[in-house]
């Protein structure tokens, strides 16, 4: 897959099972966002296939009913009210099943529902984005550096939510730079470098009972790999 002349991902072959939190790691420009965006259909691969529950995502857009997404930074029209955005996403899924409003309550979205997005800070916008990502209880959650612009309290709320969601046998893919956070959350580490998968292992295999911190363990495993 390439962006213009720049190839962001090359020959990726990944299979991720549900019921886990998979952490997508790697340096800036390694293709993490591109990989996440191609699962969402924001980026269209030049070649290759992306299957979700056996269906090629090229075949339609309805698969996104079951995908929640939280981008690094979200921006909404300045003169749109928070309530109206929720109205839009609910209308898009008309006949939506029951919603999961836990985050809406914990983030106190009701207090700002009549405010315009132009009045909201980045952190508040990110809380709205998170609430929408989890709102329809999706089977797959794609979180692109979810805690980057959140305050510590909200970060804690999100983390708890992620772990609860995992227990419901869903798949959560998180891209992050914060290794300590991934140590708490992730069951699997996928390490990307220059658009290829360098590592795809469960956390317990990486640590291998050594009791090391995750960061150190990843470095050790990566340095053993002959490809680097």
């Amino acid at each position: 897959m390439s962006y213009g002349k720049f190839k962001a991902l090359k020959g990726i072959d990944l299979k991720i099972e549900k019921g886990q939190v998979a952490a997508l790691m790697g340096p800036n420009g390694s293709g993490k966002s591109t990989l996440l965006k191609s699962i969402l259909g924001l980026v269209i691969p030049e070649s290759g296939k992306i299957l979700i529950s056996g269906t090629d995502i090229k075949d339609g857009y309805l698969y996104r009913n079951n995908v929640g997404y939280m981008p690094q930074i979200a921006n909404y029209p300045e003169n749109l009210k928070v309530r109206e955005l929720f109205d839009i996403v609910k209308d898009i899924r008309n006949g939506f099943k029951k919603t999961d409003e836990e985050l809406i309550e914990k983030f106190k979205i009701h207090e700002i529902s009549e405010k315009y997005f132009g009045q909201l800070s980045g952190g508040y916008k990110q809380r709205v984005t998170a609430s929408i990502a989890f709102l329809f209880d999706p089977e797959i959650l794609i979180l692109d550096e979810p805690t980057a612009s959140l305050d510590p309290l909200s970060t804690e709320i999100i983390k708890t939510k992620i772990l609860e969601t995992k227990k419901k046998d869903k798949l959560i893919i998180i891209s992050s730079h914060i290794i300590s956070e991934m140590d708490e959350l992730a069951g699997r580490i996928i390490y990307l470098l220059d658009g290829s998968v360098k590592l795809n292992l469960p956390v317990k295999d990486i640590k291998n009972g050594s009791g090391e911190r995750l960061g150190k363990a990843i470095t050790r495993v990566l340095s053993k790999s002959p490809k680097i």
Binding site: N65, Y69, P77, N79, I88
Partner: protein, 256 residues
């Protein structure tokens, strides 16, 4: 189409101060022209000449800026279970409708207030058609360029070309090939410029031959008034459909 997306994008735009300022400026302009001039058909022509400049400029510049500002929101909508085409359609319709409303309030209202009859109605039709055409061109220039500055640059070039350079080129053609039967060729040339089409549609109605210029006279001679109007409206519709068709094709393949 997803009506809620359209509805709220429209709300967002109508709450935008820019549309309000646009209406006010148009309204001040229209009222002063109507007050100063005594002859109503002349007033319509003067307003026409002004909106032929203003509408393309505003739609192109504001349309392009709006598209780039909406990029992150479009990206958000694309992650929802919606067809790409519908998102583009909602964005386009909301912007054209809000700019048309601005125009209706700013020009339509004063003109109707003074009872300028059928020619006033044609002025409104022309203005709204131009709004839809140039919003479509603004979106085309936005989907063609990933970079905001390049997109706005292209929009300015389109405006300069269609309002200023094109007329010069037509004039040159007429000047050099005056001895040849170039009527048909001139009609083809005219249909290549939506602003000229708007002017002809209007002038065929008001019937001020002296102001009609070469292209207008040719149109009237060639088609007669009624067919001439129909042909110019048809060409204007093509000017909406073609840019949109191309834009949607590009938009469907764009990486966000």
């Amino acid at each position: 189409m997803d009506k809620k997306i359209f509805k709220y994008i429209l709300f967002d735009l109508l709450r935008n101060k820019f549309i309000l300022i646009y209406s006010i400026i148009l309204m001040v302009m229209s009222f002063s022209i109507i007050y100063i001039g005594h002859d109503s058909s002349k007033a319509v022509i003067t307003i026409l000449n002004l909106i032929l400049f203003i509408i393309p400029l505003i739609c192109l510049i504001f349309g392009t800026i709006h598209f780039y500002n909406s990029r992150e929101f479009i990206q958000f909508l694309l992650t929802q279970p919606v067809n790409r085409k519908n998102i583009f359609r909602a964005e386009y319709l909301a912007l054209s409708v809000s700019l048309s409303l601005g125009f209706l309030i700013g020009v339509g209202f004063p003109v109707m207030l003074y009872g300028l009859s059928l020619s006033g109605l044609y002025l409104i039709v022309t203005g709204i058609s131009l709004t839809f055409i140039f919003t479509a061109l603004a979106f085309l220039s936005s989907v063609l360029n990933k970079d905001k500055v390049k997109g706005i640059g292209l929009s300015i070039i389109i405006w300069l070309y269609l309002t200023i350079i094109f007329d010069g080129l037509v004039f040159l053609v007429i000047y050099f090939f005056n001895d040849y039967p170039i009527d048909r060729f001139i009609i083809i040339l005219t249909s290549l410029n939506p602003i000229d089409l708007g002017r002809i549609l209007m002038l065929l109605q008001v019937d001020v031959s002296a102001l009609m210029g070469f292209t207008g006279a040719t149109f009237q001679k060639f088609f007669g008034s009624i067919l001439g109007k129909a042909v110019s409206i048809l060409f204007m519709l093509l000017w909406i459909i073609l840019p949109l068709f191309i834009s949607v094709r590009i938009f469907k393949k764009t990486n966000f």
